[in-house]
Amino acid sequence: MEQTRIIPPGGGDPNNRTQAMNDFGRTQAMTDLGRTAMVGAVRALEVDVISGNRYALSNEPSRDHVLLQLRSSANMMGRRLPINLALVIDRSGSMEGEPLDYVKRACGYVVDLLDQNDVLSIVTFEEQVDVIMPARRVVNKTLLKEHINRIEPGNTTNLYDGLVVGCNQVSSVAAPGYVNRVLLLTDGDPTAGIKDFGSIVGQVAEQKSRGITVTALGFGPEYNEELMAGIARQSGGNYYYISRPDLIPEVFRRELESLMTITARNMRLRLNLSKWVQLRQIYGRQPSFSGRFAEVGLVDMERGSAMSVLCELEFAPRPAGIYRVAKAELFYDDATSGRAETITTDIEFEFTPDRSLVQANVNPVIRQEIEVALASRNLEKTVMGMKTQQLSAMTATMELQRTMSLLASQGRTAEAEEVRKAIDSIQQGGPGAEKTLIGTIYSLDQGKRKD
């Protein structure tokens, strides 16, 4: 548990942290998952609002940050959500031998982990696409494994069609209340069918709008990390770089564990801004704007995880007084209560002409969050510099070491560790650094942490 909460200056100012009120009035029955939901049942998520300052200067334009911190309970409440999963496997020629052997083992592992409430389909692609096993409940595990063992290497890589067929398998049995997911594994650039980044990512966006999320697994030194990370980012799925074939089963296990502990899905955060307030940015995310509303989709959350959403707001001059600058609404499907929930919270600032009051109340927590957000942008620049060879290996290493110590000092140990791995692979002259770092950038932008 990572509970180092820094008390804001001024002795734990209650106005700096608004505990979101449960908005029971607005919860509506989702699909019945065969569970009796109690009125006011325990919910999976809590939202804290932490502002960069309790005060803002009155009568002049100003800016400040607001951090929305989402936390999910670590407790297991009720059953896990059933999973509707498609494994979409690259069986191009380059996968022959060890890689495909480990993939088969990993698929068999997935079969073992799932149960009869889950739905599984398996699709392979090379030049053509085959549905090895259409979507069905995981009942006869032995038969399923026989199908898996019949996977043979082929020729080229038609990733686009493989992806579409996999998504169609998921949607063919789509039922509300399921976690719909496609695991896409490839070891190379698309070489057949539709190959361009825009079309593939556009297809992923369309599938996302139908409720299907794609997790992108890149294996070996040859795959296109920008494409794979782009797919994950577009749909809110996970991105993994698998450097060695023997790591494939472990990564599948991690992904399955993540799917099995999802407690909040289809999350959308909406900010209803007061009319003199502008949203400058949400770090690492691309909100859509419409009138006084700004909205952003968030990735699914697992049990015992936390997510930071850092917003920068701009205020037009205000007369002194206490104002609501925005109302934040979080809409999501809650696996614990079994319903669609809304958490509403008001974001307040007190506008004062007293400059010293504003200066004395800067909240250091926000500074740290900004540092982490900037670390992500720095990594992006370093990766870009490495790709265009404008940065020498030595300069890149130095840049990365700086970012690594910054992440470590901000408690981002997992990401700091990834940067360390990237530094190692630069020093060994391997190709893995960019493939690792693009995942680090993505996870920093997601703002998600496992406690």
Binding site: S58, P61, Q278, P317, R318, P319, Y323, R324
Partner: protein, 310 residues
């Protein structure tokens, strides 16, 4: 009876007694008036629905009641970016105006706001900057007018420069109340106040060209009404956010017409008002600017004014 119950009852009663609300009518009854912006709110609201003020609290001492002056801004299709005076950097990262568009460079262009004017400069962006369709050269500083279409990479924004809230809008009586509340303010302001107060005796005079505040370039004079026309574009209408507010005439639309004053020339344009704008007896086509000359007679709704240039 708990407080909650009382509020509930109160709300019920109002609902029954109140006639079907007319959007424009002032809501009477158990509403709470926001002390900051004057909006009437239902007693069940915690915050003012218009400005967000916490209704249970008291506004600060220097609470200047009324709307805050509109700020210059860049308007995108889905949002607005506020501009400050002086330099505003425009780009994809860490700039004053943030455009999250991959065709925009990290540091793309610069907008400089000076004396109510706006200048633009390209900072050597990859995909260039254009003003009303014409690409500007790197490093060149170009003046841009309100309403200009600015393109950075493939992001298109419209520049919106509100006129300075004219002194003519606020009668001198307003200035007196400012004087009382700004005891702690710097000398700059207090210096000016006697002058403004003197103006009260001769309201017909145009404000002395003293500070940087632009002075009116023309006037609209009607039966008991008088409006100052400031340089640039002035929005005219019944709503409070116009530069020239004609509040007494229900035949005037919320947003009715526009007068532009540039280099000593004046144009008038109806912006699609319900009852139209008539110039010297001829009804204007909406959104077609026409030239204005001194002595012209203009009718907005049922309000007739004479256009006068000093």
């Amino acid at each position: 009876m708990s407080q909650m119950d009382m509020t509930q009852n109160l709300a019920d009663k109002t609902m029954i007694a109140a006639p079907i609300p007319d959007a424009d009518a002032t809501i009477i009854g158990a509403s709470v008036k926001c002390p900051v912006c004057g909006t009437e709110n239902s007693p069940t609201e915690k915050y003012c629905g218009d400005c967000g003020f916490l209704l249970a609290s008291t506004p600060g001492e220097v609470g200047e009641v009324g709307e805050v002056a509109p700020q210059p801004k860049l308007i995108a299709s889905d949002r607005e970016h506020l501009l400050k005076s002086g330099e505003n950097t425009i780009g994809r990262e860490g700039t004053d105006v943030l455009l999250e568009d991959p065709t925009v460079s990290r540091r793309h262009a610069l907008l400089v706001m000076e004396d109510g004017k706006c200048f633009i400069e390209d900072l050597g962006s990859t995909n260039g900057t254009s003003v009303n369709g014409a690409q500007i050269a790197r490093g060149e500083r170009v003046e841009v007018a309100s309403g200009a279409e600015l393109k950075f990479g493939s992001s298109v924004l419209t520049l919106d420069l509100p006129e300075m809230p004219a002194a003519a809008e606020e009668p001198a009586g307003e200035a007196e109340s400012v004087e009382e509340t700004t005891d702690a303010e710097p000398a700059e302001l207090t210096d000016e106040i006697p002058e403004v107060v003197e103006q009260e005796t001769a309201p017909d005079e145009t404000v002395v060209e003293e500070a940087e505040a632009p002075s009116p370039v023309a006037q609209l004079i009607g039966d008991g009404v008088e409006f100052a026309v400031m340089p640039g574009t002035s929005a005219i209408g019944r709503r409070g956010d116009n530069d020239i507010v004609i509040s007494g005439d229900p035949y005037v639309s919320g947003s009715h017409a526009r007068i532009t004053a540039e280099d000593g020339a004046f144009t008038l344009m109806d912006v699609g008002s319900t009852n139209g704008t008539v110039l010297n007896g001829t009804k204007l086509e909406p959104n077609q600017p026409v030239t204005l000359s001194a002595g012209d007679e203009i009718v907005f709704g049922k309000t007739t004014v004479k256009f006068q240039v000093p």
